[in-house]
């Protein structure tokens, strides 16, 4: 091979190339250092996002106590519904019994007419006794007239007493009828009110349950979003590692640049064409290796940057959804009158139930107030009836005695028999009325007992309701405080997450900033390769420089770089795109054993 002098303009070009390469190397190094700072900024912000996301998830799963409170509130609200249905039936039963007693009292009143019919003959008996007395001795006649006076007095007494007592019974009958009518009307009203209240309580229960469902759905949304954010952050963790990987590759590239620059300067001072040709071939080969590497770096940075932008956009989307979810939770709050509203709904419902119970108690008390004098009247009538029966019995006896005394078996005997018959009938009638009244008194006492029991149960139930309602109220208030506090914290976190994203989403992409400098650097290397190739070709240099490149490549520890070098030296492009899901991992639990985990490999060597 004949050595040829290198043209002077090429000398100048080499010098310029060395200068350009050195300058590009410095600028690229500076720029890359700045990406390191930017990566740390993304890292720090992302770390804050991770923390906020975790807190968000913790908030989302922290509503169990509130749900328990609402469930308990539902139970408390349902209990009065059952009680009201039961007590309403009891009141109806009492009213039916009172109506029955009203009918029975009506039958008792019908005895008044019978009484008058039975007593009517006594008028004739008195007249006939007087007629008979006119034919008798004066002593006998006086005794007979005493009897007639007794009969007359008794009859007057009986008529007055019966008149008074039946009047009282009629009043009682009227009052009982009015009570039954009023109770029925009130029960109907109460039924309607109870129906309305039951519907209101049912609505309150539905609202509470809807609220729990809404809260659970919102929790689910937040949990899902939080999981999505965690997933995005996981991908971000993967992508951000590009900085370390690229850093190592650039270290290698800069080592190559240093070598090329040194060789370029060496060439300027070399006088031996063979040595210059070899140096130029080394520059050419090293430059090709570097160009391959730089392509790899560009792909690495571009892919990582795209992945980072994508994950940040994904996180931003999730954060906006969190914001929306928070707003929706607040909307749910408004629709259901809020957590405070829930408590109010329950308190209203409990208040309505208490009103119903109070109304029931009032009803029972009213009935008792009406029944108590009735019972007294009935007892009085019964007593008077017994007295009348006794008086009639005595008159009958007296009439018989008088008849026997005068031995007049004619008219007096007949009159005596008739008087006794009237007395017997009147006594029997009195006994029947007394028995009716006694039965009525007993029945009224039963009803009073039932009403007293209902009133007592109502009071006790109201007391229990008040206690359990108070307990539920406290729990619901705790639920409200927890819910509102949680919403506030979620809102704060959503704002924190959203604002935390600003520096990330507003940033300039690593590739946008870095690749321009990378291209300048690559152009400088490319220029060095071009000049070296031109110079070496001009010198006709045909020399194997693999020893030089091998020495350089030994410094490169990354397997993919070696593959790229091989392709570059062969004048080809190696496949560049990395799998950003992770490097290969293998695990060896024991020597020789390989366990593959996921798409990456870990090797574990036993001790």
């Amino acid at each position: 091979m004949t050595a040829m002098a290198l043209p002077s303009r090429d000398e100048l070009a080499l010098e310029r190339t060395a200068f350009a390469l050195k300058h590009a190397t410095e600028r690229l190094g500076d720029e890359f250092n700045r990406t390191g700072d930017a990566v740390m900024c993304v890292t720090a912000t992302s770390e804050a996002l991770v923390g906020a996301s975790e807190r968000l998830r913790a908030l989302a799963v922290g509503g169990a106590d509130g749900e328990t409170a609402v469930t308990e509130a539902t139970t408390v609200l349902r209990a009065p519904l059952a009680y009201l249905a039961e007590s309403g039936a009891s009141v109806r039963h009492v009213i039916d019994r009172l109506a029955e007693y009203h009918g029975r009292l009506n039958r008792t009143l019908s005895w008044e007419h019978e009484f008058r019919r039975v007593m009517q003959p006594l008028h004739y008996v008195q007249t006939l006794f007087r007629i008979e007395a006119a034919h008798l001795d004066a002593d006998i006649a006086r005794m007979l007239l005493d009897l007639v006076r007794d009969i007359e007095q008794l009859q007057q007494h009986v008529e007055r007493v019966f008149g008074e007592q039946f009047l009282a019974l009629r009043d009682t009958h009227g009052a009982l009828g009015a009570l039954v009518t009023r109770l029925r009307a009130q029960a109907d009203d109460d039924d309607k009110t109870a129906t309305d209240r039951r519907e209101a309580i049912a609505r309150a229960i539905d609202a509470l349950e809807d609220s729990v469902k809404g809260g659970a759905a919102a929790d689910l949304t937040l949990t899902g979003l939080s999981a999505d954010v965690s997933g995005e952050l996981g991908r971000l963790v993967m992508a951000l590692q590009f900085q370390d990987i690229v850093s190592q590759k650039l270290t290698h590239a800069f080592a190559g640049a240093e070598l090329v620059e040194a060789r370029l300067r060496d060439v300027e001072t070399m006088t031996d064409d063979a040595a210059r040709g070899e140096a130029l071939r080394v520059i050419e080969a090293t430059g090709r290796i570097m160009l391959g590497q730089l392509r790899g770096v560009e792909v690495e940075v571009t892919d990582a940057d795209a992945a980072i932008a994508q994950t940040l956009a994904g996180i931003a989307t999730r954060m906006r959804q969190v914001d929306v979810a928070c707003v929706e939770m607040h909307d749910v709050d408004v629709v259901s009158a809020g957590a405070d509203g829930l408590v109010q709904v329950m308190l209203d419902a409990l208040g309505q139930v208490r009103l119903l119970l109070d109304a029931g108690n009032d009803l029972a008390e009213d009935a008792r107030r009406v029944l108590e004098p009735m019972s007294g009247v009935a007892a009085s009538v019964r007593e008077r009836m017994a007295h009348v029966a006794h008086g009639m019995h005595l008159v009958g006896l007296n009439a018989e005695v008088q008849a026997a005394r005068v031995e007049n078996r004619g008219g007096l005997e007949v009159l005596s028999a008739r008087t006794s018959a009237v007395a017997r009938e009147a006594g029997e009638l009195s006994a029947k009325v007394a028995a009716d009244i006694a039965a009525l008194i007993s029945a009224l006492d039963d009803v009073r007992g039932i009403l007293a029991g209902l009133a007592r149960e109502g009071r006790e139930f109201a007391l229990r309701l008040s206690d359990s309602g108070g307990d539920v109220e406290r729990k619901l208030h705790a639920f409200r405080d927890e819910t509102l506090g949680g919403l506030a914290r979620v809102g704060e976190l959503a704002a924190e997450l959203t604002s935390g994203l600003d520096p990330l989403t507003g940033r300039r992409g690593f590739a946008e900033v870095f690749v321009g400098e990378l291209h300048d650097f690559r152009d400088a290397v490319d220029m060095a390769v071009a000049h070296a190739t031109h110079g070496a070709d001009a010198l006709g240099a045909a020399v194997d420089v693999s020893a030089h490149t091998d020495a350089l490549r030994e410094k490169y520890t990354m397997a993919s770089e070696r593959r790229i070098h091989d392709a570059a030296l062969a004048g080809k492009d190696a496949a560049m795109r990395r799998d950003l899901r992770g490097g290969s991992i293998e695990m060896w639990d024991a020597p020789g054993e390989t366990v593959t985990t996921g798409s990456s490999d870990v090797e574990l060597w036993s001790e």
Binding site: F242, G583, T597, E607
Partner: protein, 125 residues
């Protein structure tokens, strides 16, 4: 099972990523930027697992592994080398130094946690 884990890397980003991942799983994490710093910290406070980069200034991961294995208290401590892809020769050096395993960057959080769980379970067995 929470553990104390030392992460050694000259890249602050990688240390932060490893730390995120492990702390998120409830582990206690110590950090060092090279082998010398790690050795000093680990002499003062033991760790259940060491996860180290290979290429670092002052003392690389392979030398760190070798020196830790020389300490009785670290004879059985899992040491995982977390590094950019390396050739077989480098891996062999790590293995010969006494490392327990080898993971290629970029690692995924799930993979790292799975491996940590595996070596902890193996250690507890």
């Amino acid at each position: 099972m929470a553990a104390t884990i030392m992460t050694v890397d000259d890249s602050a980003t990688i240390r932060k990523m490893v730390s995120w991942t492990l702390k998120g799983a409830g582990h206690d994490v110590m950090e060092a930027s090279d082998g010398v710093e790690a050795l000093r910290a680990l002499t003062a406070r033991a760790a259940d697992i060491v996860i180290s980069d290979i290429n670092m200034p002052n003392m690389d991961g392979i030398e760190l592994t070798r020196q830790l294995r020389a300490l009785p208290s670290f004879a059985r401590t899992p040491i995982i080398l977390l590094t950019t892809e390396s050739d077989a020769e480098k891996k062999a050096q790590g293995r010969a130094a006494g490392a327990t395993g080898w993971i290629v960057k970029p690692f995924s959080q799930d993979q790292l946690l799975a491996i940590v769980a595996k070596v902890l379970a193996a250690r507890a067995a």
